[in-house]
């Protein structure tokens, strides 16, 4: 399968993981129309960077439909708010419910697209590299399960095919007996083979105290810089939330921003966060262009 490796994916998996955690949590917590719009835009841009047209196909196949439904359904079912736009029967459809729905829809869309990006970047081995440091035992089990599931499926198909052509052996075996036999043999296969695997593990020293963890990834200077910046931006955004600069409420009346200084700086910090992968990609692209022009 063709997988585009953007520059941010080449960072340490830990950096990637921290980034996705920060962006997704903040997108959920900061309920503000502007930041959520930025978050969705950032997620979409990154998804396109990662997967091109395929990501748009994903966007329109699911998140987009859910978003449209939220926008339509929220004002129909929720009648809070003080500014009625029109009435359906006796129930008012309010401006506030409509705006709330629009904001919620941005949040849902952005979080879904961030998870889409997450699944593209954090493949199983990249996730393992992060998880292994925290819980080396469970991460090994995870790796073994990932190996075992496709093998089990494969063996089930092989047994079915083999039995289909085994002939009847004179006496016809009933369908239930055949199915039960196949199932029991699949279980036996799994157990027997895992005994051999556990021998192989013991033979290579599994179970000795002081097991270390190896991931094959190395933290680089740019990972440190990225994480430092990520912390600064995240703290800024949270400060904006706490001080009320990023306050937003739809009911009973739409109200944006409580502090007097405005919210520009906080929103800028959040925007930089959401577009960081794109910024990194463009910076890298420019650097290459420059290098090429020198050659």
């Amino acid at each position: 399968m063709y997988l585009r490796h953007d520059e941010f994916t080449k960072y340490h998996p830990g950096t990637n993981f921290a980034y996705f955690c920060a962006v997704i949590i903040l997108s959920l917590v900061i309920f503000h129309p502007v930041t959520m719009g930025i978050s969705l835009a950032g997620a979409l841009v990154y998804a396109i960077l990662l997967r091109g047209g395929k990501s748009l196909k994903f966007f329109f196949s699911m998140p987009f439909i859910i978003m449209i439904l939220t926008v339509i359904l929220n004002p129909i079912f929720v009648h809070k708010g003080i500014t009625p736009l029109f009435y359906i029967g006796d129930s008012p459809v309010t401006k506030e419910a409509f705006i709330y729905g629009a904001c919620a829809t941005l949040m849902i869309g952005s979080v879904m697209m961030w998870f889409y990006c997450y699944s593209q970047v954090m493949t199983s081995d990249r996730f393992m590299a992060v998880a292994g440091r925290v819980m080396p035992k469970s991460s090994l089990v995870f790796s073994m399960v990932l190996r075992f599931i496709p093998r089990l499926k494969n063996q089930a198909v092989k047994i079915r095919n083999a039995r289909r052509n085994a002939g009847t052996n004179g006496e016809a075996v009933s369908k239930t007996k055949e199915a039960a036999g196949q199932m029991s043999m699949l279980t036996t296969w799994a157990l027997e083979n895992s005994i051999e695997t556990s021998d192989a593990m013991r033979s290579r020293g599994y179970g000795l105290p002081g097991r270390t963890h190896y991931s094959g990834y190395k933290m680089q200077a740019r990972d440190g810089v990225f994480i430092a910046l990520l912390i600064i931006f995240a703290v800024t955004v949270i400060a904006g939330k706490i001080t009320g600069a990023l306050f937003f409420a739809a009911y009973p009346q739409v109200k944006i921003g409580l502090s007097e200084g405005g919210s520009g700086a906080y929103i800028a910090a959040f925007a930089l966060m959401c577009f960081a992968p794109a910024v990194i990609e463009i910076a890298e692209e420019l650097r290459w262009k420059q290098l090429e022009s020198k050659i």
Partner: protein
Amino acid sequence: MEAVRIKDLTFTYPGADLPALEGINLSLEEGRILCILGPTGCGKTTLLKNLKPIVRPHGEIRGSVEIFMGEVGDLSQREQAAGIGYVTQNPENQIVTDKVWHELAFGLENLGTEPETIRRKVAEIAGFFGIESWYKNMTSELSGGQKQLLNLAAAMVSSPRLLLLDEPTAQLDPVAAADFLAAVKRVNLELGTTIILTEHRTDEVVSLADKICVMKDGQVGAYGTARDIARKAVQGERLNDKVSLLDIMPQPLQAYAASEDGDCEWDLPLDVPSGRRWLSGIIEVGELAEQGSQHFPEDAKAKEDRTAKEHAVEVKKVWYRYDKNRSDVLKGVNLKVSKGEVFALLGGNGAGKTTLLNLLCGNAKAYRGEVSAKGSIAMLPQDPQTLFLDDTAGGEFGERHPYDLSGGEQQRLALEIVFSADADIYLLDEPTKGLDPYYKKKLIEQIRKLKDEGKTIIIVSHDMTFCARVADKCAMLFRGEIVSEEAARKFFAENMYYTTPVGRMSRGLIEGALLPEDIGSR
């Protein structure tokens, strides 16, 4: 100093009447390769496992086993894990993790090695075994040969001084097996690792091993260099009532023993080059011409059969691929097999042989072309374990569970299941896998009997000697196409590389000889 010294080793499984190993005395110098040969059930594996107590089965042990680090029983788990590498038969079951790089690191992680050191050692080992290009792959995507090479590399990553290999090539095709054994030789030559392996492919092994130990009934039957063993084999030494030492020796030696022609005690033919030396010595100039066509008596008959008999299986311009986005596995294959014919399909890995069998029995469907078979079909799949349904094996194996049988016994049980099905057409995928010479002979008899009953048999195999013995017709698949199809003897006689060892040894010296007995009856 000796790397391994075994003194009076006797090992008895719990509840067994007779010991599995009895009075074993063996010693091996550092940096040597020892190959243990012997028929199934002679105790090869048990002996190997006694050299690494963490994998040793339960049982009563007497005598002593010493390796360079001391008595093996006294070694700590850590010393055993790091100092003794161990690779077994089944490539699949020894792989623990889902990624190649992680598999290489696994042993070192267990030993508590620092990540920085792991990085260096894993890189070194991947380089040594040429794993770089598939280093990042999923282990499930590897071929059987790659998996076993990965197991070898993973065992070597802690740089053990002693490497134990238990029939490591039993489940590999000949090309992958040769690659694997070449890697083993390199480990020995470049790192000086002492290696003990059990094998049943003697053709490749005699030129690899410094010492050979032949076991019979849990005892050392013979021990020495390949030539020492060969001399004993020619003298007619037996291993048990079913198998003689000669049966497990390379075919050039069998040909020599069959012909009793020429004296070369000093240079017994053990491989193709030494076989040619011997043959060219005994053949008179001018004798060549008379040989000619006398070895194709079946050829005319086969031609007659083709026109006279109806077709049991017909494949017309068949195209197949596993997935829309993948390339074709079969490309316009045409094939006709007459009723009552034994037909062998040969070809390298990925040539489409097994796929073709799957199409014939209906496990897969061609996307273009036609497949038709007249009569019922029974098939022996590549993996005998997929055929078992009952908890007891039955027949000669009694109440034992099929999974408790050895690889060769499982294969025999699977064959029994398939042959007991009253089918018109039998499809056999690698039927000789794991069988020793005695049961190979019995299988040939069984196939001939079925043929006489008018059954059709289609064989996919890498075992060319077996095909030359049993098949009426052979075809070679190459990249999804049939490139040649001929009466069996003619097929092998005309092939340069894709033929039996005796065929290669006698090319240009005796035309048309393919089997040891052909040379004998010259």
